[in-house]
Subunit: 354 residues, 2 copies
DNA sequence: ATCGTAATCCGAAGCGCTTTGGAAGTAAAC
DNA sequence: GTTTACTTCCAAAGCGCTTCGGATTACGAT
């Protein structure tokens, strides 16, 4: 039989009020009775009914994440890590994370339903777009949320993000320092904020070095292995392909490396490659990949959990920001242009002979 | 301003009871007033507060899925489809699906918490084990659930599953019909029920054909690309490798095919390969894969949604079962043994010459 | 002896909905 | 005209918790 507040109170000869406040950690109950109450609650296995609590307080102690199943997020283990860290960070404060799956075309409706249904105290918006209708809706409704990634918005809002522009710039600067001038970019749809920012960083680095960006060296690709594969093939088909390449997401990165392999090419001999976010554990590669690295998803998740709690505690939204700095992690897939040229000469000579 | 039942009732000059029952579709309210009520509710934008309703009814109209982040499920787009179908099937009945992420080591605790917290009306257990403590816990607590995959249990319980044994048997029979006798198996941990069943089907087919299973032809592998890759390399390193192979999951299947490619081997010339569940969209392959195919995840999800609703409606648990039949989808990765032998001869001859 | 203060405790009013157990009105049956 | 049987509606009692606004007691201060 489930015990409730009333029974607990009765068995202690106290009022429900006092028991409730004792358990709630209020100061107007003596240390002695608090201990008595806690002991009894423990002994009788009392657990406050969250449904009742919710109705009384109006809080659900749950934060939600609406998850559109267009699946790009799948296979990206980074996302899993973030969720994991978030969940852990929240549960330390007795809050839960609930992921609400939804068909992409019904996404906005679901936001409305979830908010109206008061199913969660706050929402996390991931994969932000440059122009993001979800964030506009949330702002309009005045519902608490945290954006995982920034967006263009006239109003302030809380966000967690990395300095994508700086990351891409650093990567391209590294390639330039290696002597490259024909540097390609494979990027996701520029509707995604992260892609737009990395794209901007790429252009900025080139221009700063006095290099005119070439449209043909820039290929768009879905966030997927296949996407990266095909985009790489496009670039390889150019009359003069790039000598170096930045790939703006890890899934496409795998595809790129596979495409190179399939064409008998090997980084960095034939092409210098830097992959944003590195490549997830996939199948064995004969080299480590030079990457723009960001903190692990777990760390990010924990920070986001703290941000969410701060928002719910009433911290002004224009103060809740976190901008992580990515770092370049040197690997074996990029190198000096001269080395490549030499290798290429050897290669063509060999081909001519055979 | 949010309108509640009381306000709605007042504005109509009716009691809360009547309004509630009108909206609830009870028969003891006249058609005329029902219409009036519905019209007014619509006009005033009345939405019953789910928190209050939950407290009153004790139902949450949510089904949960506790999701351990050991990540095998990631990258397996099949799982995403299932979730999607489930979610859709449930929302047609105004129920929600909530995915609760959890660290693997805290999984059982979370089951307890979620149940005690009455956060959901029912749970879905996925990736069932042969011996599954989660299912035991749920049975013990008498909490409604649906197992996605069977398990060994003395008590009846509701499940959704495919005939894994039959699927594996059919695949192996096909290979046998092609003349193969050295047929390998790459399988996931046999703690997983699906793996155990497919393993059993594999053995059964061999024995039925009078072939003695060879331990060395059976390799265990994690459910991942890397796992499949390594397992394939193990089998290739054998003195006499198998001439045909069944891979019991799609992720490992990709790894297997990549490993073959990396060793300059090509199915079916050098090895006949059948992959359970086919291979997910990955990077381009020069052939279609012969697969044991199951209905799409969406369909499965919708069926599961119906099952859950039936359980909640009180249908006896030993009547809620669904066993899907997998079918072999012929592709270009398997074929007659003789053809392989001929090709191999040609191959070795060529090697001898060069 | 009286007052103010601080420390504890509690009654009762919600939170917004569902549901039980009638009551009132109306029509059919005798 | 009375009885029976519906039909339609409603008052009130929860669901289990939180919290506001005191009430009570104890005690040092005046």
């Amino acid at each position: 039989m489930k015990v409730n507040l009333k029974m607990l109170a009765a068995s202690l000869g106290l009022s429900q009020t006092t028991v409730s406040r004792a358990l709630g950690g209020y100061s107007d109950v003596s240390e002695a009775t608090r201990r008595r109450v806690e002991e009894a609650a423990q002994r009788m296995g009392y657990k406050p009914d969250p449904l009742a609590r919710r109705l009384a307080t109006g809080r659900t102690d749950t934060v939600g994440m609406i998850f559109p199943f267009d699946a790009t997020e799948f296979g990206d283990n980074r996302w899993g890590e973030v969720v994991s860290g978030l969940s852990e960070g929240l549960s330390a404060h007795d809050m839960d994370l609930s992921i609400i799956p939804v068909l992409p075309e019904k996404e906005l409706d679901t936001y409305r339903r979830v908010i109206e249904g008061r199913r969660v105290d706050a929402l996390i918006v991931s994969w932000t777009r440059v122009d993001d209708s979800r964030i506009r809706l949330l702002q309009e409704l005045g519902f608490p949320f945290l954006a995982y990634g920034r967006t263009e918005s006239p109003l302030p809002y809380p966000w967690f993000d990395f300095d994508n522009e700086a990351g891409a710039r650093a990567a391209v600067e590294r390639l330039i320092a290696f002597g490259h001038r024909r540097i390609g970019l494979i990027h996701a749809s520029l509707d995604y904020n992260f892609a737009a920012q990395r794209h901007a960083g790429y252009l900025a680095a080139l221009r700063a070095a006095g290099i005119d960006p070439e449209e043909t060296l820039i290929a768009k690709s879905p966030i997927s292995r296949t996407g990266g594969y095909k985009a790489m093939e496009e670039l390889l088909a150019l009359d003069t392909p790039p000598t170096a390449l930045l790939v703006d997401n890890n899934l496409a990165g795998i595809g790129v490396l596979r495409a190179l392999g399939a064409h008998g090419l090997q980084p960095p001999r034939d092409l210098s490659v830097i992959v944003y976010d590195g490549v997830p554990t996939d199948i064995p590669l004969p080299y480590t990949v030079t990457a723009v690295q960001q903190p692990t998803g777990e760390q990010s998740g924990r920070i986001m959990a703290r941000q969410i709690l701060a928002i719910l505690a009433g911290k002004p939204v224009d103060e809740v920001h976190h901008l992580g700095q990515p770092v370049i992690e040197a690997g074996g897939t990029d190198g000096p242009l001269e080395a490549q040229v030499v290798a290429a000469k050897r290669h063509t000579r060999k081909q001519a002979v055979s």
